[in-house]
Structure formats: C-alpha cells, structure tokens
Amino acid sequence: MDVFIPEGLEEALEIKSRRPDCVPIAGGTDLMVELNFGRRHPGAMMDISRIADLRGVRADDDAIFVGAGVTYTTLIERFASVAAVAGASRTVGSPQIRNRATIGGNLATASPAGDALPVLACLDAEVILGRKGGTRNLPWHAFLTGPKANALDPDELILGVSWRPTSGPSAFSKVGTRNAMVIAVASLCLVLDEARRSVRIAAGSVAPTVIRLPAAEEATRDLLDAADAWDDPDAVLDETKLAEIRGLVQAGVSPIDDHRATAAYRRHTCGVLVERALRWALEERSAGSGA
C-alpha cells in the first residue's frame, strides 16, 4: 500500500487527481475499524489530518464554514452556544473518539445514523467538495444519496460544510442503549428560526438517509404561532396539537428493523424525540443564543 502525507490542501488534491483510488484518512474512527478487521484493502491512503485548511472554523454575518477535518471536540468548544451542534457533537462516541472523529468523516461515511447529519440537514448546510482546479457546493440532501452512499467523486475531497446562521434556539435529541459510545437508534434535530418564524426538523436512523420532516415543521410553526410562543416564553402549548406533531413525525419516517431496534420502536421514539427537542429549544430561548 502507498501512503501519502501531504502537508497542504493543494498537494492533497494533486495526489487525488493522480491517484483517485487513494483513500483519505483523518480521524480514522470509521476507516481504521475496516482496516483492522481486514474488510478493506486500499491500494493507497493519505493522511489528511495535518492539513490546516481543513481544520478551520470561520464565521461572518452571512455564513459559517466548518472544515472537513474539524473534530467533535472542537465543535463542542466552538459552538458552545448552538445547542444542536454542541449537543449532537457531545453524543458522539467517547472523549477519545471526539478528539479524532471529524464532521467530514461523518459525511464521507454517510451513515443514516451519523450524529452530525440531522444537524446539517436542519441548518440547510452545503457540502463543499474540492478537486484539483475547482470546487463545487452541494446541498446536504444532494450529497447524501443513500445509506452509506454520497455524491463524492473519486478525485474529490470533502473540504467542509457551510450554512447561513439562524437566530433562535435549537436542540438535538438521540436515543440509544447508553449515553456514550452508541450509534443512534433514532435521533432528531430541531431548529427554531426566530427571524423567519420557521421551524426545521430532521431525523436520523429512521430512513435510508437523514430526512427533513416538512409536515411536522409546518405544524410546529402553526402551534407556536397559535400559542404566541415566538414572543411569549411562558406560552402554554396545546397538548392536542403536540400529539398531532408527534404523529406527523412518526408518519414521515420510514425506519427498518435491525439488530439495534425494531422499526416500531424507532417510530415511537421519533414522537418522543420531537416533543423533547421542542421543549428543550423553548427552555433554551431565554439564554438568547443563535445557530
């Protein structure tokens, strides 16, 4: 096997153009398992963990950019005030895993259970892909094409993700058999966009890819409108309408039975998660943070 250790992004993209079979490795938390168990035998690999261009977080008024090589430990530190980002990152693995695992790796693996993915879906994130001589941006849903499948071309690298900041609270909620080291049985992200008075909801581990749930989003917005909850932090939410939202989420997902849970359990869980995430987001509002 050939191993490349590029110091910069240009060098890495050059290698990728010459050797499209070259498998990039950053945190290695998915890839090394495949290697250790002899399930994958790449002809070439390159260490992209030391490329500074992939490790940056930049924010201005219009957009936030997170490099593909940014770890969950860094996301927890840099997005402490964005509950959905920090919360989802904190549910990933263990301290050892969070120190290595990257947001780019989550996109590359493209598991329906990837913890960062419902958050990126809620933020309407774009995935930035680079090849020698150019970049292209894809909306998250165009990038994630199926279970463990994505739109990355063999000569491309994932450079990062970007999204437009929103003003308002958010929450991430996940169910698994432990609080640590667990692949989501079901997960859900909710973002309240106070400026546009809109609601975004995405779920993971309950469909072939992460999905948004537009019917539940509209119903939640209507619920908040009717209760005047956008302006009144103490507004009481209508229990009947909340039950309808749980039902819309449960109707919008298409889970399967597998060794981690049954489809029926996952469907039930999604209803619990949406109500939990909504309550957490509303409780957070007084803190006045924004995504």
Binding site: V3, H41, D47, S94, P95, Q96, I97, N99
Partner: protein, 159 residues
C-alpha cells in the same frame, strides 16, 4: 514504510507495514506493550495514548499518521522506582482486577485530572465513558479517580 516518531520523549524509528495501526506499531514494532489490544474498533479504550497531547485510541490511528509526531503512552507515567499517583490510587482502591483495561483507564484518568483537577462524579463518568471494564463494575475505578484527584491536589498544596 520507515516510520519516525517521538515516543515518551525518545525519537524512535521502525520499518512498519503501511496499514498498521499506531497501536500495532507501539506493541509489535516498538516493543511497548503497555497499551492493550482488545477491540480494535475504538470501543474499549484500553489502547488509549496521547497523540500530540490529545487523548486518542491508538487502534484508530494509522501508524503513518504518527510520522514526525509525539506519542505518549502509559509507560511514560511511572518512574523506575515510583508509580504515578493515579496508578497508586488504582492500586490502593482495588480498581484493578484482571488489569486489561487498567492502562487505558489510568491514561484517561491522568488526562481528566490534567484538565479538571477536582472533577464531579458526572465529569469522571463522562471522561471514562470510552473505557470499558468488565470486572470492577466501575465503582472502584471511580473511587480511584476521586482518590487520585485528592492526592494530587494535596501534593500541589504541599508542593
């Protein structure tokens, strides 16, 4: 490939297979068997080391990724004559049974106490959430972390 890295403050070189994990390199090529090989998938934490001062599972680092980098292993903690206070605390509380998870748990504890010298029980549990122990039921490991925290802060006061 020829791999050169700094391990426990000493520059080491070895001719390793390109697909080797850092754990394999440490144990088999550099003859440092303190980091244990158990799950090879990042689940158990028994291979925990520091890579450039960050706590990582060495089974999930490609050996080549450690080229020209600094690794610190459990072997760095004790001197020739004295255990590290965290190791001492594990012995005194009986936090060691079969001992297989101990190097990883000790390393994770040292890392925790570097960042948070007086951790709450919740902080201890979160810091050790990536280290599996199938013998102790964790209670004595948590006792060991509390004792080590107390010993180290006393040592700082005496310092």
């Amino acid at each position: 490939m020829q791999l050169r890295l700094r391990v426990n403050e000493e520059v080491m070189e070895a001719d390793v297979w390109e697909g080797s994990s850092l754990l394999h390199v440490l144990r088999e090529d550099l003859h440092l068997p303190g980091s244990k090989n158990a799950c090879e998938q990042g689940e158990c934490g028994s291979c925990s080391v520091w890579l450039d001062d960050e706590l990582v599972c060495s089974c999930l680092v490609l050996g080549a990724q450690a080229q020209d980098r600094a690794v610190r292993t459990v072997e760095s903690l004790a001197s020739r004559t004295e255990l590290h206070p965290v190791q001492e605390a594990f012995v005194r509380t009986g936090a060691v049974q079969c001992g297989f998870c101990t190097p990883g748990a000790v390393v994770a504890t040292v890392e925790l106490l570097l960042k948070d010298p007086s951790p709450s029980d919740d902080a201890i549990k979160e810091a050790l959430s990536g280290n599996l122990c199938r013998c102790t039921g964790y209670a004595k490991i948590i006792d060991a972390v509390r004792l080590a925290a107390a010993d180290l802060s006393q040592a700082r006061l005496d310092g």
